[in-house]
């Protein structure tokens, strides 16, 4: 019976609920925590994530906040990912903080099996890459610097 389930496409809401639970309980590889700001958001669109700068890089000790926006097409399409904290990173638009899909293969080559947790983990990994680990960083951007758009925000954190 379970075998049939594997062919079934898990609907968006079920998928997001699962991710929510994993974030809250720290299930998974445990270096990720995320949840929704507004538990009343029935569409579960806006999420916020946090990445903690990996050790032995210029990012060490910093906390980066990101905003992830899951459209109705999630998980068919990747979420929009945007750094709220200032960061100098090859795949991040310096002006807007948006993670450019064209520069971040995971978003460009999106699979519906990927989760927001995967994105954050991958971004953290990206920070340790040779072209990113030594980049001079702007003064640590106030984490709450960019104003949260009202209500719907999920933050994830990667340590």
């Amino acid at each position: 019976m379970g075998s049939e389930g594997s062919t079934v496409i898990v609907p968006r809401s079920f998928r997001l609920l699962e991710e929510l639970e994993r974030g809250e309980k720290g299930i998974g590889d445990g270096t990720v925590s995320y949840g929704m700001d507004d538990a009343d958001d029935v569409y579960m669109q806006s999420w916020t994530g946090t990445i903690i700068g990996p050790p032995n890089t210029v990012h060490e000790g910093r906390i980066y906040q990101l905003k992830l926006f899951c459209s109705h097409e999630y998980p068919e399409k990747p979420p929009n990912v945007k750094f709220q904290s200032r960061i100098n990173m090859s795949c991040v638009n310096q002006e807007t903080g948006v993670v450019e899909p064209s520069l971040f293969p995971m978003l460009a080559d999106w699979h519906r099996d990927y989760t927001m947790e995967n994105i954050l983990t991958q971004l953290k990994k990206e920070m340790t890459s040779p072209q990113n680990r030594k980049l001079t960083q702007p003064p640590e951007g106030n984490d709450e610097g960019r104003v949260d758009p009202k209500g719907l925000v999920l933050r994830c954190c990667i340590m």
Binding site: M1, G5, F14, G23, G26, S33, G35, T50, L154, R155
Partner: protein, 519 residues
Amino acid sequence: MGVEGESTQTVVDAEINLNIRCSNGNKFSVRATLRSTVVDFKDLLALNCDVPANQQRLIYKGRILKDDQTLDSYGLQADHTIHMVRGAAPTPPPTASAPGAGTVNTPSQGAGANEGIGLGGAGSGAPVFPGLGLGGATNPFGSGFPEFEQVQQQLSQNPNMMREMMNMPSVQNILNNPEIMRSMIMSNPQMREIIDRNPELAHILNDPAILRQTLEAARNPELMREMMRNTDRAMSNIESSPEGFNMLRRMYENVQEPFLNATTTGGNDSGANPFAALLGNQGAVNNPPSTGSETNPGSAAPNSNPLPNPWGGAAGGAQTNAGTRAPNVSGLGGPGLPGLDRPGGMADMSQLMQNPAISQMMQSLLSNPQYMDQIVNQNPQLRSMFDANPQLREMMQNPEILRQLTSPQMMQQMMSLQQLLPQLNQQQSTLGNTQTGATTGAQNNMGLDLLMNMFGGLGGGGLAVPNEPDVPPEQLYATQLSQLQEMGFFDTQENIRALRATQGNVHAAVERLLGNFGP
């Protein structure tokens, strides 16, 4: 066990368990109240790790916790995980390192409190065995099918029915047979593990006298209460002696916890774990207050709620039986075949269904209202059931309902049920082939005997059953399909398959679609 659940619930207001993950990978848990502020919480954490409070940066759900907020304001809940990072320098706003607030306990104190609770649970939850006995009784028809849960609910709402059932000789037969009880219990791997680890438990479970006693208790509310009282008193006696406390704790750790695990790990998938269903629906069998209400004659309201969806899909014979002849089913389908080494009642039921002779009998039975009456009148237990529940009689005499029961959909459902459980094919394919193994054979025979009794005088006239459905499933399950669509399941074919397999129960279909249906 129910008792323990309650006590933890009252604790939630005061203290909850929170998991902390440090950036270096360390993990630990603390107990704190949600009312405490973040800064107080950091002080508490500072006692448990080497990061001073003013260097801690806490992150939950991606948000950085601010010192002046309360934990509550971030929506923290029990057992959630907070991440902690050591700030690069004491850049965070200076935090007064006030001494640990009174509202916050150190973990060691927390652990102490925990033990207390656990013990309380063990103490009043100790009559595990009454629960088990009753569990055995309800398991066969309570576990597999979602619909059966309804039956079970009705049963627990209707103590008379419960008593009637318990009094049925066939049920008693089964429960008096340690072999069957044991195989029922053993069919749950977790239960088996517990028993393997605690041989003394096995003795208890194998002792028909004890099982009988518990059953007796389940049947008689007075006796039940009396037993509970005795156990509680005994418990408090033990507790007051110095070594007794430790003994109780050991007992709790060795028995109660694994037992709880065994009964709850099925999660919401009752199909996979009969005992979970039991816990869920039977409520706290071990919980004196609710047991009282369960068997309390005072609440013997005749069961007047119609089943939510009794004829929705021909849950086939299974559902039919469930709806209209619950007690009857218990006599034949349920306990008749409980001992097969298959977890879940669905296996039992489908085995029944799978037997062509039986389905034919069902057909002929259901297609003729007179047979129905005849059977009812022939069987004193059934008659008294009907007397107690006039609605049942009404239902059974409603030709419309009977017609629906005999609809081709029902047969189709049975077919899909069979497809669901192909592994059972080898178990039993013909009526004559019941002697597949010593034990199963015996049980099958018992089930068939019961069945024969039930259907006595029918003679089993072979009726040809039309097999093509005259209503397409899209139409039959139109409502359920649109519900599934709304939930986001867009594969109609898959939806129909799931609905068929679950007899139109949307909830169960979703479970199934998500692959949580269990092994």
